[in-house]
Every structure is written in C-alpha cells, then in structure tokens.
Symmetry: C2
Subunit: 271 residues, 2 copies
C-alpha cells in the first residue's frame, strides 16, 4: 500500500492555525511523524484564500522538503497555482489532482495545464474520475471511460499509466449501499485495460453519515486492498487503519513470514 | 454470516469447571448470551473423558434446549457418541463434524455413520476436508476432491449440498503465508461445483503463533466474508469479530441503508 500522508492540510484546524502563525516547527513535526509512520508521500494542501495560496504552498514546501526525504504530493484545486509552485519542489512526487472538468472560463481542463509541465519527468498525478459532461459518476462504465480519456491525454506527454493514481471518488455508503461494490468493479474494469495503473482513494467518504465510522473505514481499507487498491490518501498515524493494512497484507501473502506485521506490533504502530 | 457459537466447549477452563460441578446455571447463561448476541447455532462440545462424554453431552443438551430456541450444533470427535445423543435433541441443527478418515479399527468413516441417521431430516453437518489418504491437505484441488467425495456420499442419503458446511481447515498464516489465499481459492473451487454448499471456518487457527492475533482474526473474517464464507464457528460475544461482520456486510451492500450496522452500534454490540 502506497501511503499518501494527509496531515498537512489547511482544512485541519491545527494546521490552519500553524499556517496563520507561520509555525514552521508544527509543520516540520507533522512531516517527520508521517515519514516515520511509513508515508510514501507527504500531501501538502494550503486551503487558504486564493490570494495567499501560492505563497503559503511555497512556505509549506520548503519546510517539508528540508525536514524529510519523502516526496511531496502537492495538492491544490487550482491548476495554475500548481503550475506556479511546481518548480520549487526539488524531488518528483505527485500532483493532487487532475480531472477532465473544464477550468472555469476556459476550454482547458487540469490535465491540459499539468501534463505538459511534467512531460519527461518522474512526476505522477492523482486523477479524479470526473469531467464536465458527467460530473462525478458512480457507475463503472463512465468511470472507465473518463479514465481512458485521462490516460490517452497523458500518453501525448509520455506520461505512462503507472504514474497515474486514479481516484474514483467513492460515495458514502449511507447514500449508496453499492458504493464499495461499484468501487471494486471500477478497479477491475480500469485494471483490465491498464494493468499498471494505480487506484487510490480517500478513506473517510465511505463512512460519511454513519456511526462508528472508524470501523467502516478500517474494513473498507481491508476490502479495498484485497480488491486491488494501490494507494490511499490517509493518516499514517491512525493505528486502526495501519492495522488493517499490516494485517491484510500479511493475510494476502504479501508479508513473508508475517515479519512486517510482527515488527509493527512490536513497535506499537498498530493496535 | 451464519454464526455457530463456540462458547459451550469443555476445552474452555470455565466450561470444564461448570461441567465438573454440574453448574447448570453457568451453561444456561452461556446459551442465552450467545443467542442474544446473534448465534444461529449453539455448539455443544463436552471434551471430557470418553467414558462420561455421552452422559455429559446429554446433560448439556437438556440445559441448552430448555434455555434457548436456537438450534444445537452437536460436537464430538466420536461418531458413535454423536449417534447416541442425536435422538435427545428436539430440533434439527448441525453435526460437528464428519470427514472421510476411516474410524480406527473400521472400514467406515464418520460420514458412513452419521449420514444414515439424518436421512430425511432437516439436520445439517459440518464436514472437514480430510481423509485417510491425504490427511489435512492445504492445496485446493485435493480439498475440492474430498468435498466431492463427501457430497456424493451425502447424496446417497438425500442430503443436499446446502445442508453441508465445508470446513477446509485453514492453516496458520505463520506457517503458510498462502493460507488465506488457498482458503479463498478453495471457496471458489468448491462453489464453482456446488453453488449452494456452505463454507465455514474457525477463526483462530489462522493467527496461531502471531502477536496481536485479534487483528489477524478480524481481518480474516472481513476478507473471508468477501470471498464467500457462509458460516463461522466463533464467539458471538467478541465485539471485534462482530464489528468485522457488521461492517463488512454493510460495505458489501448486504445491509439496506446500513441499518443493521447502525443498530449494532447503538446497542453496543460492536466497538
């Protein structure tokens, strides 16, 4: 499981406060803790007013890349802001996110802006299965169709499917009882065409509106790993979710002599 | 998930003591608690010396069937003891277990003794995939072959596959990293031939020799439900395992509007 650590995000109140107060130590610690907990990427999202977003992202980027070797997953709703901060990131990571929705007042979508920037680099992208025609579809064929559109656009810039983390934007189970089943079928449908592509997801949407959400999130992780999810945008310091990852990978024969599981128990990383 | 409650078993020290002291109240409470927690069958296993096993089983049977309506899963290693106590059970349940190993000093196996007794009744059986030739095989083709042998023998007595709970005897993951994967493939292989057959398992073998066993057991349950396991010999009072069941069934679209999950949280049945 490729872990995209989600804990440096301005929507989190303590992070918002740290950003406002320019508390570099707080941000640095969050980066280090996530790296130590096993994050493969550190997501950086400012979630500030647009007027200060680029400046805030640059401040965050500098702190994180000075603190850890883990690559950055740079996260903004605005493609032009992403374009502006990309040159300041020293090591290739992930761009979060692109999709096929037209940018307001333009004929271009985020792929059109971002893909040329990473042509010939090792950068990857998180790509959402949404476009201007369908919005955020929940059905498998439309998700597969949008994925095709993204992969074909990426191919024009030499970006191969293994660099693309497709996020099918899982719906809340309380709204759609077939949400996980559709996600699983989407994984199968997309991987049947692009075996090397990566499938990703956030973990909390699935349990929206339900009690005991952590139970749903943990079991979602277990089932999604089995179904072929490759990466997750998540909190690597969440012992419950990490338990699902270590236990599932051991159960699925991906942990020789169950050593990683046992080590994680010994180190108190899982509960 | 069909739950076979495992808490009235003489191998459990407190149950052993209750049996020795003929503490009927203790046994009665265990039956009631398991029924209330959602058990579909109450397993009864004496685990005493052979000389007193039949007498002990009869005592246990009377207490349980007076206390609850839930059918009994009668459990003995000895086919002849099972034969002897069966007439005392008022409501059809499950016999735990049969297999194709020859009974010592005989050409017959447990199927040969038990199947004629339940011909034309509603009784079902738990059947282990072991025989005299192969012992307890871990490979899928042999498990499927032994299942065929059991089903074909059952058919002679009019016992249909839906009355048979096949237990493929899952090996410890610490010994065989592919144990769950083989179990999943066994489920698929067996159900491809007998779609209505039931697959069952205990939950604790898988984690033998590992730390934090409950994490492995819980995630085993989640993955096994997805893979098509129908029943489990388990402790229905174990909140962790029940959490896996309720969360998985909700995630797999088997819990309309996630109502059962929400009710279980409200009643404190899951954590």
């Amino acid at each position: 499981m490729i872990i995209i650590g989600e804990k440096i995000n301005g929507v989190i109140p303590s992070v918002k406060k740290a950003i406002e107060e320019r508390d570099a130590e707080f941000i640095r610690n969050r980066a280090i803790q996530q790296e130590e907990a096993g994050a493969d990427y550190i997501d950086i999202c400012a979630a500030t007013a647009p007027a200060v977003e680029v400046e805030t992202l640059k401040w965050l980027i500098d702190i994180v890349q000075d603190a850890v070797d883990t690559p950055i997953c740079i996260d903004s709703p605005d493609a032009l802001f992403l374009k502006e901060v990309l040159p300041f990131i020293r090591k290739p990571g992930l761009i979060n996110s692109v999709n096929l929705e037209n940018i307001a007042g333009s004929d271009l979508d985020k792929c059109d802006v971002i893909f040329p920037l990473i042509e010939g680099t090792e950068w990857g992208v998180v790509a959402l299965t949404c476009d201007s025609e369908h919005g955020t579809p929940q059905d498998v064929p439309t998700r597969v169709e949008i994925t095709k559109g993204i992969v074909e656009k990426a191919a024009k810039y030499g970006i191969t499917p293994d660099k693309i983390h497709i996020d099918p934007l899982v719906m809340a189970l309380s709204t759609d009882n077939n949400s996980l089943l559709n996600f699983i079928e989407s994984i199968k449908g997309i991987k049947a065409i692009y075996p090397t592509i990566k499938i990703t997801s956030g973990l909390s949407n699935i349990s929206f509106g339900m009690p005991a959400r952590k139970l749903i999130n943990q079991n979602f992780m277990t089932l999604a790993i089995y179904a072929g999810m490759d990466s997750a945008i998540m909190d690597p310091l969440n012992n419950g979710i990490m338990s699902s990852i270590f236990a599932s990978e051991a159960l699925l024969g991906r942990d020789r002599h169950t050593r990683k599981f046992s080590a994680a128990v010994r180190k108190g990383r899982i509960v």
